[in-house]
Symmetry: C2
Subunit: 358 residues, 2 copies
């Protein structure tokens, strides 16, 4: 009888960062589709729209604040912050006592980072130099926020595309800085620490080495960063960008490394857009050192800078993977393997289809 082959047989893979298993069903990629097909928003983006709340010189959604006439990036407080700086302290119940109603007041600050004054650009279509300005804005925000006494963690992320709940088409990302370390980075940091305690080496350094030898899950790389579809990927075309050498956070990177970060961010996004010839939706987020208790995050002992890209598309610009039903109630499930996804992304050009056309 056949022996187990994870490119063919149903199996689970283990994610050492989250500590969770994922169900993988490689034989299932061919099932027919009768379900939801998304409407593509037409790509008729103007460079400037006076009604764009995030546009340079325009009024914001509240109608009173006016944006400066910015020509690169522009960072400001979110008009509808999920976290506020002045929440009164307080709590209800306690986890230790196994209380069933447990709540805790939390403080924080939410920022918006406009990537470009132009409404009709995305990271995939921007120049490395333009993206470098975004990276520099992140570094500055991370550094400033981490010094606030009520901030323990800075979550930098980008929701791209309507399919990912992006409520404004202007190219932008967000930063939610919070008193607490949110669940996902908390768990990942605990697992990085446990690995280091047990093995004496750093998990993601070992992982980079392994993937550079195996090659089959690599998407692209430069001197400082490696982009891979992780072995334990959940989303069909999930990608992780990892710094080849451990760096706890953004402020550890030299200017040349920041340029490398802009470079790999652009290249991953260009491949994504070219995969299905569409403005490929995703959520991207950076995991790095927390900023708890006034410690210097650049000296963190276990944190290892990496970016996660979670894109929903599965087969085309309009057919997505739904994480529903079994995924919500049971566990995450994927159809094509990480190796197949990486091969598809490797085959894509890094010249954006909108530029190749011209």
């Amino acid at each position: 009888s056949a022996s187990f082959d994870y490119t063919e047989h149903p199996h689970r893979r283990y994610n050492p960062l989250s500590g969770r298993w994922i169900l993988c069903s490689p034989h299932r990629a061919k099932r027919p589709w009768q379900g939801s097909v998304e409407d593509l928003p037409p790509d008729d983006r103007p460079e400037y729209d006076p009604k764009d709340y995030l546009g340079p010189g325009n009024f914001r959604v509240n109608g009173t604040i006016q944006n400066p006439k910015y020509d690169s990036t522009f960072v400001f407080d979110n008009d509808f912050q999920a976290l506020l700086a002045d929440t009164p302290h307080g709590e209800v119940g306690s986890v230790e006592n196994n209380d069933l109603l447990v709540a805790k007041a939390v403080r924080g600050k939410c920022r918006v980072v406009c990537f470009s004054p132009k409404l009709n650009l995305t990271v995939a279509e921007m120049t490395v130099k333009e993206i470098k300005a975004v990276v520099d804005a992140w570094v500055e925000e991370y550094d400033t926020l981490s010094k606030l006494d009520y901030i323990g963690h800075v979550q930098i992320f980008e929701n791209k595309g309507q399919m990912m709940g992006c409520s404004n088409p202007h190219p932008h990302g967000q930063i939610w800085a919070s008193e607490f370390v949110p669940e996902e980075p908390r768990i990942a940091l605990a697992n990085l620490k446990a690995y280091h305690t047990k093995k004496g080496t750093h998990m993601l350094e070992d992982y980079v080495k392994l993937e550079m030898e195996a090659k089959e899950r690599i998407v692209c790389q430069n001197e400082t960063f490696l982009a891979v579809v992780p072995f334990w990927a959940t989303w069909p075309f999930e990608v992780m960008v990892i710094s080849k050498m451990r760096a706890p956070c953004l402020v550890n990177f030299t200017d040349a490394m920041r340029l490398d970060l802009a470079d790999i961010y652009r290249r991953v996004c260009a491949r994504y857009d070219n995969l299905f010839t569409t403005l490929f939706p995703y959520s991207m987020g950076i995991h790095q050192a927390p900023t708890e208790n006034g410690t210097d995050p650049s000296k963190h002992e276990y944190a290892h800078f990496h970016m996660h890209f979670y894109p929903p598309l599965l087969r085309s610009a309009t057919v997505r993977k739904f994480m529903v039903g079994f995924e919500m109630l049971g566990e995450s499930q994927r159809d094509l393997t990480a190796e197949q996804a990486a091969a598809r992304l490797r085959d894509c050009s890094e010249i954006h289809f909108n530029h190749a056309k011209k």
Copy 2:
């Protein structure tokens, strides 16, 4: 200065079943919406469509198998099973050794449960008697599957609506039976066990008592079941249906209790549909005793039967909550409170708008 009030101030709530915190931003429910608005599929469902792969007497998607002319429920093997009964054994790496590539072959079986021969019905519109037949089918499937030597867990669920990735509009649910206990129920069972070990009482029995006294999160109830928006709800109108007395699994319920389950299932779904006058999308799933190692699940010591409803809609039939960005990279976040959501659902009629019209 004001003191902490969880109906007003940003806070985190703790979910004792998942062991995870959720960020709650009650002040944020009023933010404007510029993002994705879903297209509603028109409600022109015919009672019968010869092209419906799940219809009675029709051919299935592969074109060779023909469905029987069923007149109640109909259960069969999924034509595109995510899990197979004959996967060869095998594994790669090990979690204990902190290996970074860890995979394990898994066996299982996926079943489909058609709820009704009629294409234009949903649970919200079916009679309690018709839904009782669905419950009876679940009981039989759970009982049969749990006796297979390679099955350790039986996940019963329903994806309703295109927005929830439902690939066929015929009213149906699914059952994925697996060798392993999937991550979500594994974690919930461990937390139920830890609570019982520490407190000597059962978590969800204590929780039912607490909610029946507090009243503010109750949606509806009957003799056997309570429907609440849990204190730690993640999705805007998330609902949990809990058996008031602990019952490990479906087979523990008497015939009268199964009728009560059909009753509360219908009533929760009717309220959902009436909330935004739409066929309200959701994923529903049952958590109950695992069926590991040939043990009798009806004698399980910690498991407590409950259903989770995870619906995505937030403000209307077309505006949904997106669990993206901060939610994927940081932690789950909600805007309105569980108490506000429960009050809205309590205000809804249990007579479906499609019936009230007539």
